[in-house]
């Protein structure tokens, strides 16, 4: 019997509330199936299963709030479990529960507890940032129904931001907890280099002429791709620190997305090294709006092996990131700006990108970090090969 546990969706997550089971005992499941939705500080998350088998027993019930690592369901395996242990790392890690109590309250979840509402109503409310405590239920026994939530959504469309505050605040607390842990535990070292982006931007501009508006590429896809390629050369920066460096075979880049209401979401974009530039753009088009709407899958919140933060246009030139534990590195890209550029004894004006690396000194040394930055810089000079 395999135990399916409440996954840890990041270093900052302590507990989650089961909203709904999407399977019942006897159902066959395979790796990647979504079997439940769980309410967390980062919104309502689709929880995926990592094993193949048949659902044996659903141990916890909807509305139960349980700590990370709690058994949620039992799964009867189809065959003997194979060596897939490594891939379960985020789940396993949950077992040794951190002693700290960083997050305090989880406003969204607390609000939902003790309120009678249908799972559908709850889901809609969470998606749209509706605070159920403010609603009057019209269903049986005062239960909040889908219609009640719909009315509230319509009302909310008339712009009033207050209801978003709860979600924004819980994200703030999640970021606070993760970053405090990072700053407390990880001895960071920092490196920085400037990259001449003229070749990359020229290539991009030509590439976009061949594409419809919908397929147009943003510079960030080249940056992500260059990071992934450089990581294949310097794999020590792609992994976790858990009593030693654990390098990860897959390159899943957590891409920082800032939320308008404050806070960030960091969904993982899987296997970037194996995606083409166009496939990567499709992934971004899918994942960024979902991250903004706080609608991500568990694998997207738990499987990043490194983080990239990119400030985009017209922003600060340089950013030094804080590592998202248990990862060991974060790459920061500032805005591309025109700068004087000296090369072969000549001075010119070029579009210049400042790239930084913050890395965990327990896991690697500056020489490794520097090798990574130089490799990435090289790739950005050969955009057609990315």
């Amino acid at each position: 019997m395999l135990e399916f546990k409440m996954p840890s969706l990041g270093a900052d997550m302590e507990a989650g509330t089961l909203c709904e089971w999407l399977v019942k005992p006897g159902d066959k499941v395979k790796r990647g199936d979504i079997i439940a939705t769980v309410d967390t500080q980062k919104g309502l998350i689709d929880i995926e299963v990592f094993d193949e088998g048949t659902i044996g027993e659903l141990v916890i019930k909807p509305d139960e709030k349980v700590p990370v690592g709690t058994i949620m369901a039992l799964i009867v395996p189809d065959k003997e479990p194979t060596v897939k242990k490594e891939e379960k790392a985020p789940v396993k890690k949950a077992e040794k529960k951190e002693e700290e109590k960083p997050t305090g309250e989880i406003p969204v979840t607390v609000i939902l507890q003790g309120i009678k509402a249908s799972p559908l109503a709850k889901r809609m409310a969470t998606e749209k940032g509706i605070d159920l405590t403010t609603l009057k239920g019209s269903g049986e026994g005062g239960a909040i129904t889908k219609a009640d939530v719909e009315n509230a959504i319509i009302e909310k469309m008339a712009p009033k931001e207050e209801k978003k505050v709860a979600a924004a605040e819980s994200i703030r607390m999640a970021v606070a907890a993760a970053m405090s842990k990072s700053n407390r535990e990880i001895p960071h070292y920092y490196l920085e280099t400037k990259v001449d982006m003229s070749k990359a931007l020229a290539w991009l501009s030509e590439a976009n002429k061949q594409r419809s508006v919908k397929q147009r590429l943003l510079p960030v896809v080249l940056l992500l791709k260059a990071v992934a390629k450089a990581l294949t050369e310097v794999p020590d920066l792609n992994g976790y620190w858990e009593n030693g460096l654990h390098k990860k075979p897959d390159i899943n880049i957590g891409f920082v997305i800032s939320l308008r209401a404050g806070g960030v979401m960091i969904p993982a974009i899987h296997n970037i090294d194996k995606k083409t530039i166009d496939e990567l753009m499709v992934s971004l088009n899918d994942i960024i709006p979902r991250a903004r709407a706080m609608k991500l899958r568990s694998s997207e919140l738990s499987e990043s092996t490194i983080t990239v933060t990119s400030l985009g246009e017209n922003n600060a030139e340089t950013v030094y990131g804080l590592i998202y534990p248990p990862q060991v590195a974060i790459v920061g890209f500032g805005s591309i700006t025109e700068q004087p550029w000296a090369e072969t004894g000549m001075l010119d004006v070029r579009p210049v990108l400042t790239a930084t690396l913050s890395a965990d000194h327990r896991a690697t040394d500056g020489a490794t970090g520097s090798r990574f930055l130089m490799a990435m810089k090289d790739y950005l000079q050969k955009p057609a090969e990315l």
């Binding site: 978003k164 002429k209 508006v213 147009r216 943003l218 960030v220 800032s258």
Partner: protein
Amino acid sequence: MTEPEIKQIIFRSLKKIAPDTEPEKLNPDDDIRHTLEIDSFDALRFIVDLDEQLGVETPEQDYGKIATLRNLVNYIMTKKK
């Protein structure tokens, strides 16, 4: 298509991409992206959406011509002629 109609489509599109902003409050010469805090990614979604709504394809080199509401409306009106 009249100017108010184009503005309505622009506002609706901005509202879709950045629901918590108030595009109606934009002044004609405000920089749209700067004022509404729209990043590169959402800016591209906005251009894609305008293309779908209006059938106006904006080449990359024209991005500079559509930074403000006034310029964007003019740009669309010229293209629609």
